[in-house]
Symmetry: C2
Subunit: 197 residues, 2 copies
């Protein structure tokens, strides 16, 4: 997957003007994380949003038995953060980790806070991000409640078309809330259906 810069993302997806985008770019910086590095650890306070320019990260939690559960993947062009920790300055409930060597455009919350106070179009951009997040989360809950393992897998491919070959099957199963064995069955069943076509 090609690198996506934050300025390209903003130009394509928002109404922010060039001056505002230039100001954002001037105040932010790009950080590099090796595969396995943590952008945020559970228990730390989150101070920034992370825009993925190149690479792949995941947000996940670990249960009492040491099992990992993946809330979200974020490939190129996605923003990931711990909204609760960021807003309420509370310890993060989940980890955010690079699962490939990853280049992150770091957007400090302090800057976001300053810009939303002074620029109404930036406030609109931030509001849109919050509402998009709520829509995605609600959709994910509804799917976990209602969809079969097969439908969840098909929806996963639609949401993340480029990452299926970039993550281990155990992580896909963790995201879908099914066992790796169920995932194997789903994949076999679907490849059988394609074969019959």
């Amino acid at each position: 997957m090609n690198k996506i810069t934050f300025s390209t993302f903003l130009t394509s997806n928002t109404d922010l003007d060039e001056t505002m985008i230039a100001e954002l770019m001037r105040h932010c910086r790009t950080l590099f994380f090796k595969k396995g590095d943590f952008l945020l650890r559970q228990g730390d306070t989150c101070h920034a949003s992370f825009f993925v320019e190149k690479g792949l990260v995941r947000q996940y939690g670990i249960d009492n038995e040491g099992k990992e559960h993946i809330l979200q993947f974020a490939p190129e062009g996605w923003i990931v953060t711990d909204r609760d920790s960021l807003y309420n300055k509370t310890p993060a409930a989940y980890f955010i980790q690079a699962i490939e060597d990853t280049s992150i455009f770091l957007i400090e919350e302090e800057l976001v806070s300053k810009l939303t106070k002074s620029h109404s179009n930036f406030t609109t951009f931030n509001d849109t991000l919050l509402h998009n997040h709520i829509r995605q989360l609600t959709k994910r809950i509804y799917q976990l409640l209602s969809a079969s393992a097969e439908d969840r897998y098909l929806s996963f491919i639609k949401t993340y078309p480029d990452i299926l070959l970039r993550v281990p099957q155990t992580m896909v199963a963790s995201y879908l809330g099914i066992t790796p064995e169920s995932l194997s069955r789903v994949r076999k069943s679907l490849s059988g259906k394609n074969f019959k076509k």
Copy 2:
């Protein structure tokens, strides 16, 4: 459960001053819904947030096989709306329905929009609502991925301590994403544990 007025809720839970609360109260109105009435139907555009003064509502969807899946209950003191439909003026993906005779304090989005433009403390209030919503949704996803049926049920009781006797078991099972038979087993197992104490 006793009636909770929106002004009491705002006084207890926000930093909004009396003048602001009075202005809100002056521009809003209370509506009454009979048990079974819809506050919002799937496909309609949502124009307001609903504060439950007295009664109980649910937000739910119906899958292709006609089965209902409950995203949320909202008893006294809760706010429920379709954020995506409200913000993007798109057709609502889910239903919001009274499951008891319910008194709703209706907060029109047009008013919220006006107040957030002119009063920074109202903007903060609205931002807090959005972030609380994101926290609750994320927690619910994590729980659906990681928790046993028993733990989900215990968490349900904690989230909604007053409504267990007010909703049919089929709705509780639908909210938890388990079958009514599994819910019966969980309840039996838990009552067994209590008996042994």
